[in-house]
């Protein structure tokens, strides 16, 4: 089981910055175009918590309309850090469903598929990146099927 370590806001911002391209679209953030104070303000606005797991960075933001659901994100294609985060959310936040909003070519998408998330839809032209519009994929997972 991968260990995940909770980061405070300052550490989370510097980890996001260090992740570079793989963190673009992480919980809707973009460390390439946003500066540190904006990243910190956005993280606090959605009450996000970030965790480091070795090289990878995972995080979640609660759904304010449904306390048993969380938005999750990962910078790595490796499913193990994500599995550790889902285990934590299920056990300690009592989440039953998870939503991931991932740019179409992001690394993190593979981790969600490997963890048993299902594609719930596509948001067309949701992001502007590298001088072009980019679609965003929506994945949903359930606590009873995604942890193992």
């Amino acid at each position: 089981m991968t260990e995940i370590l909770r980061l405070d806001v300052e550490a989370a911002v510097s980890e996001l910055r260090a992740s570079g391209d793989s963190a673009r679209g992480f919980l809707g953030l973009d460390p390439v175009t946003q500066n540190d104070s904006l990243l910190a303000a956005e993280l606090q606005a959605v009450a996000a918590q970030l965790f480091s797991a070795g090289e990878a960075l995972v995080g979640f933001a609660p759904n304010t309309d449904q306390p048993r659901q969380a938005y999750v994100a990962s910078t790595s294609a490796d499913p193990e850090p994500l599995r550790a985060l889902l285990e934590f959310l299920t056990t300690y936040q009592r989440c039953t469903t998870f939503v991931a909003v991932v740019p179409a070519d992001a690394e993190g998408g593979k981790a969600f598929e490997a963890c048993g998330f299902e594609r719930a839809g596509v948001l067309p032209q949701h992001r502007w990146q590298n001088y072009d519009w980019q679609d965003v994929l929506v994945y949903v997972g359930r606590a009873d099927s995604c942890r193992s």
């Binding site: 309309d65 048993r68 659901q69 719930a120 839809g121 949701h126 502007w128």
Partner: protein, 151 residues
């Protein structure tokens, strides 16, 4: 129909019996007596655009993102007439006045909203999120509907 800016005298239009965050918030008939009405805060910063449709309710462009040129739309209505004209005005205001490229919002199918009217102004269902809102003591599914400007 025109959307105008918010004034202090419009405060009574910002609260009502709608599900929070709904793209097309129509008054719910069986709103529980003891439940607080859903309230949208008066604008305090430029991260959102709050407009008033006179005599009908509010239209709020929130999560405004000027890099990706998109906004999430919330509408809360007290009266139900001229919905089609209002929706046309909402899309035109977003695309032409705010110069956005994409509008989206949450639709809760269990409330049986008039999705045909949303389709008429270009909105399409893009994703279905299970158990994404809380209603009547249980989680209900929500959908994301969006419209993209073609130019």
């Amino acid at each position: 129909m025109r959307l105008r800016g918010y004034r202090r005298g419009d405060a009574h239009l910002l609260a009502g019996p709608w599900l929070p965050g709904e793209l097309l918030g129509l008054p719910m008939i069986d709103w529980p007596m003891l439940a607080e009405p859903t309230t949208v805060p008066a604008p305090t910063d430029p991260s959102q655009e709050l407009c008033i449709a006179s005599g009908l309710g509010f239209v709020r462009y929130t999560e405004l993102d000027w890099v990706h040129r998109r906004a999430r739309v919330e509408i809360g209505l007290h009266a139900l007439h001229s919905l089609d004209v209002l929706l046309k005005t909402v899309v035109a205001h977003g695309f032409l006045t705010l110069n956005l490229s994409r509008l989206y919002g949450w639709v809760t199918p269990v409330l049986d909203p008039p999705t045909g009217l949303l389709g008429d102004v270009g909105f399409q269902r893009e994703a279905t999120l299970p158990e994404s809102a809380w209603l009547d003591g249980r989680p209900v599914d929500r959908e994301i509907w969006g419209v993209v400007r073609n130019d």
